[in-house]
């Protein structure tokens, strides 16, 4: 009987304990609501100190702007989505708590300083998570922030950690935390040695910060470590500039390669080339809208789907332009220039009337987001890598088409000797249409790629038309290799000039150099015979 009584009492006590823990968390969560950012910072610290794992989703919601306070009674809820009325979730239990109109709720706001506090608080709470990735992320957060309050928790986590990669990261995080803590200098000097091996920019910043504030001998050791990391990073600057040059070069090549066919091969000064690029970009936008509306599961691949659709749309548009305007103007370059310039204005205004003057958002697929670290000094952004690869595929595909396919043969034949080609039974007029369509289609492909780095607006094409002509003329009219060489030379030269001369002056210097070069070699880097050059 007594036993039973005791166990009942124990259960009761446990229940009370649990209930009071919940109630405590609820109070801590509710404290996030009212008050200013300073008060909120203290509330977050208190929540983190509670060690309650229920605090993690609350902090996540706060970070994501999904934590709201009911205006009437100042009770804090997590909201499920952006719907109005909002579906409320009780932060302590994770249970549904009914709905409420948005107007009766007030968002619990965070600012950048608080985001830092949240991320290190979460670091402390998730260091013991069963998931390795979560533990590593927690350690990485502490490493970056160098949060001194995490020292003791980290020591325990290191003792308990089994995964070697997580352990290494935790040791680095521990070193970062020690540097900002009040531990003895010997510990700090050891920590500096550990951090020196990490060697990335964030660590350099952390060490430099310590060097600014600490006392000797930590001060000079940290300064020396920061300097050695910085000089290690600096040695990669050359490689980095080269890569930036190549990636700028491939954007220029993308924009110019369609022009290399219409202007270089056919000799048509197509001022509407930029607008064809723009139409390609808008096709990518429309494709993405359609795909996300009808096949939401494939949204991540919408950009891939828009590659063929942009090629077809702009290719057909180009063929229509050739059939209705250009073919009446062959051999009259000035009139072609004026007609296509007029056309470019028409296309721009048409797109503006259809889609409005504001920018359209073509979102980046998840596989194109972020960057990869090659080494500590060199990280390449994914979207640029994809664009360089995409450009290479187009360039060599086009090369193959021109050199190895029957249609390519016919195109070159018509370009080099039209009467002879016709005598051989080639339908020259039809080949002209196809050639122009091919150049336009490739412009459309360029448009798809440009959505990832530039803005999709009616002015998109205008920004690239001058650069495109520059590349084609500089590289040598009528030669695809010349276009490649021209684009890369301009891109790389630009990126090596920019750090010294600045973006504005850099562009001017390049332009002057090209003008001087054209004076010396009017036919560009690689000159070739063609209808355009013959006359």
């Amino acid at each position: 009987m007594q036993k039973i009584l005791i166990s009942i009492l124990m259960v009761f006590a446990l229940l009370c304990g649990a209930a009071s823990a919940w109630a405590g968390t609820t109070d801590l969560v509710n404290a996030l609501g009212p008050g200013d950012f300073k008060a909120r910072e203290q509330a977050i610290a208190a929540l983190a100190a509670s060690g309650d794992p229920a605090a993690v989703p609350v902090l996540d919601a706060l970070d994501a702007g999904k934590l709201y306070m009911r205006k009437a009674d100042k009770v804090v809820f997590i909201i499920k989505d952006d719907a109005d009325p909002a579906t409320l979730i009780d932060p302590a239990t994770g249970q549904d708590a009914g709905t409420a109109p948005k107007a009766t709720l007030e968002k619990v706001k965070v600012n950048n300083a608080l985001r830092g506090v949240i991320s290190s608080a979460k670091g402390g709470l998730t260091l013991f998570s069963p998931d390795v990735a979560t533990r590593k992320a927690a350690a990485a957060n502490i490493l970056k922030a160098g949060d001194a309050s995490a020292v003791d928790t980290l020591e325990k986590a290191i003792a308990a950690e089994k995964d070697p990669s997580a352990l290494a990261l935790m040791k680095q995080a521990f070193a970062a935390a020690v540097l900002n803590s009040s531990r003895p200098d010997a510990d700090k000097l050891a920590a500096i040695e550990t951090l020196k091996e990490v060697g990335d920019r964030d660590t350099a910043a952390l060490l430099a910060q310590v060097a600014n504030s600490a006392e000797e001998p930590v001060k000079s050791a940290a300064a020396a470590a920061a300097a050695s990391i910085q000089s290690g990073l600096a040695s990669w600057t050359l490689v980095q500039n080269f890569w930036y040059g190549i990636s700028l070069g491939s954007v220029l090549l993308l924009a110019a390669i369609g022009l290399a066919i219409t202007f270089g091969v056919m000799g048509i000064i197509n001022m509407a080339h930029g607008e064809l690029v723009m139409v390609g970009a808008y096709t990518a936008y429309v494709t993405q809208q359609v795909v996300t509306a009808y096949i939401p599961g494939a949204a991540d691949y919408a950009l891939l789907i828009s590659v063929p659709s942009a090629f077809i749309v702009t290719g057909l548009l180009g063929m229509a332009i050739e059939r209705t305007i250009i073919r009446f103007l062959y051999g009259r370059p000035l009139e072609t220039l004026l007609a296509t310039f007029g056309l470019s204005l028409v296309l721009q205004q048409a797109v503006r009337s259809l889609f409005g003057p504001t920018n359209k958002d073509v979102s980046a697929p998840s596989w194109m987001a972020g960057s990869i670290d090659i080494t500590n000094g060199l990280s390449l952004t994914m979207n640029r890598i994809v664009i360089v690869a995409f450009t290479a595929v187009i360039f060599f595909g086009l090369m193959l088409l021109m050199k190895r396919s029957p249609i390519g043969l016919q195109m070159r034949a018509v370009t080099q000797n039209r009467p002879m080609a016709r005598a051989m039974g080639i339908k020259a007029a039809w080949v002209d249409t196809l050639t122009f369509g091919l150049g336009s289609g490739i412009a459309g492909l360029a448009g798809v790629a440009l959505t990832q780095i530039d803005n999709v607006s009616p002015n998109l094409g205008q920004n690239y038309i001058i650069d495109s002509f520059l590349v084609v003329v500089f590289g040598g009219v009528g030669n695809l290799w010349g276009t490649l060489a021209g684009a890369m030379a301009l891109g790389i030269a630009n990126k090596f000039l920019e750090p010294f001369a600045g973006a504005v002056l850099g562009k001017i210097i390049i332009l002057i150099c090209v003008i001087l070069f054209i004076q010396k070699r009017p036919r560009g880097l690689f000159a070739i015979k063609g209808r355009w050059v013959e006359s």
Partner: protein, 412 residues
């Protein structure tokens, strides 16, 4: 007053000029302002017009072409007989129309934040002067612990002048060392930001908290923010505080990587006041688009238009000189829940807000000035401009009065 539309005198309208680019690079920003003016005119007509007459908006398109702004302004005043004009966005367009408004003695309401250093008798500056946007933003960042500054801008008059003021302010008032300031200019529409963003990252890893103050204008912002996102520059590490990126400009960008970056304005769509809620509702109904956003220059037009209406009502005429006298001191509600007043220097009082970008494309206000800030036409931080004041009331009636020499005219 049940049916005010009967109150109009037959065949008589008051013409109001709307001078905003509907094509060219600036169309992206200015088309919206044209729409908002037409809406305000409609609303005023529904309230019974002005002086018993109906208002009529005359829309022209200067096509982002600065000399054409002057021509179109002349056409609005001389040919169409507009008594007041609302328009311009870029400083260069404003500078090109100034002589026209002075010569023909007509009124211009200019709704966009600008670089200051100007006060003209015929112009009312309803956007922010540098002390109503740039200086408070820098103060906010400094209070957040920022010690290193990147001043990044597009290469033209507004960023150059604003950055000159900011540089002096940082060095003289906040005592920032010259090596902790990096200044960078890029051409209009600049699209390749790789090296600059990586330079900014490098600049920010010197152990002192760094921030970017961005006066990058127009289209170039989109690739800039895209590059920041893909190179992983987070707002918690290096915040970017922009002076010309608002709700409209964000519409074309993926906001996920940008959460926490800042903007300084005098109005945000997210301001929670009944008058703002009503304005947004009207705006979305008028444009028949429930997703349309509002922004700061729209609010400036709202304030400017209401001030003009009030001044004309007070003067009892639309003639320029009586309205010029009547408008100083006029106070109208702004959309953020307070009142803005027209000052003798033709600038207005407004609150200053700092907002952080949210994933929704809206801004969360994280800081605001405790009260209204009076627009300062001549910067207190630039030599030569320090001693100048402007007061368009009689008898002084001068835009650049030198308090040291006691003379009107001439900067130094």
């Amino acid at each position: 007053m049940g049916m005010p539309q009967f109150a109009f005198a037959a065949g008589e309208t008051i013409k109001v000029g709307i001078l905003h680019s509907l094509s060219g690079t600036m169309a992206i920003s200015e088309t919206t302002l044209k729409d908002v003016m037409l809406m305000l005119i409609d609303q005023q007509n529904a309230k019974g017009g002005l002086l018993g007459k109906k208002l009529e908006g005359v829309v022209v398109d200067p096509a982002s072409n600065w000399p054409l702004f002057a021509e179109k302004a002349r056409e609005l005043i001389s040919k169409d007989g507009c008594v007041a004009t609302f328009g311009c966005w870029t400083s260069v367009s404003r500078k090109s129309v100034l002589p026209v408004f002075e010569e023909l003695n007509s009124l211009l309401f200019y709704p966009v934040q600008y670089e200051g250093e100007e006060s003209q008798k015929n112009v009312f500056y309803t956007g922010a002067a540098p002390n109503q946007q740039a200086i408070p933003a820098v103060d906010y960042l400094a209070a957040q612990g920022v010690k290193r500054w990147v001043l990044a801008g597009t290469d033209y008059v507004y960023p150059r002048t604003t950055n000159k003021i900011l540089e002096t302010y940082l060095k003289d008032i906040l005592k920032v060392a010259p090596e902790d300031i990096m200044i960078n200019y890029t051409p209009f529409g600049h699209s390749d930001w790789q090296s600059i963003v990586s330079d900014i990252k490098k600049f920010g890893s010197a152990g002192k908290k760094a921030a970017v103050v961005s006066t990058i204008n127009g289209d170039a912002n989109v690739p800039f923010y895209k590059e920041l996102g893909s190179q992983g520059v987070k707002a918690t590490d290096i915040p970017v505080c922009a002076f010309s990126v608002g709700e409209e400009e964000l519409a074309g960008i993926d906001k996920k990587p940008l959460v926490g970056h800042l903007a300084a304005w005098n109005y945000f769509m997210s301001v929670d006041t009944p008058i703002n809620a009503a304005f947004i509702k009207d705006w979305q109904t008028y444009t028949k688009n429930p997703k349309r956003v509002s922004n700061d220059p729209m609010e400036a037009h709202f304030i400017g238009f209401n001030m003009w209406v009030e001044a004309v009502t007070k003067a009892g005429t639309t003639d320029t000189d009586p309205v010029l006298d009547a408008i100083i001191g006029v106070t109208v509600p702004n959309l953020t829940g307070g009142y803005s007043a027209m000052l003798p220097n033709h600038h207005i009082t407004k609150p200053v807000y700092i907002g952080e970008i949210q994933e929704s494309g809206q801004f969360d206000i994280v800081w605001q000035t405790p009260g209204l800030v009076a627009g300062d036409e001549w910067s207190d931080f630039l030599p030569g401009s320090k001693d100048l004041i402007s007061d368009w009331r009689k008898p002084m009636s001068c835009g650049n009065f030198n308090v040291k020499s006691g003379k009107c005219g001439g900067a130094t």
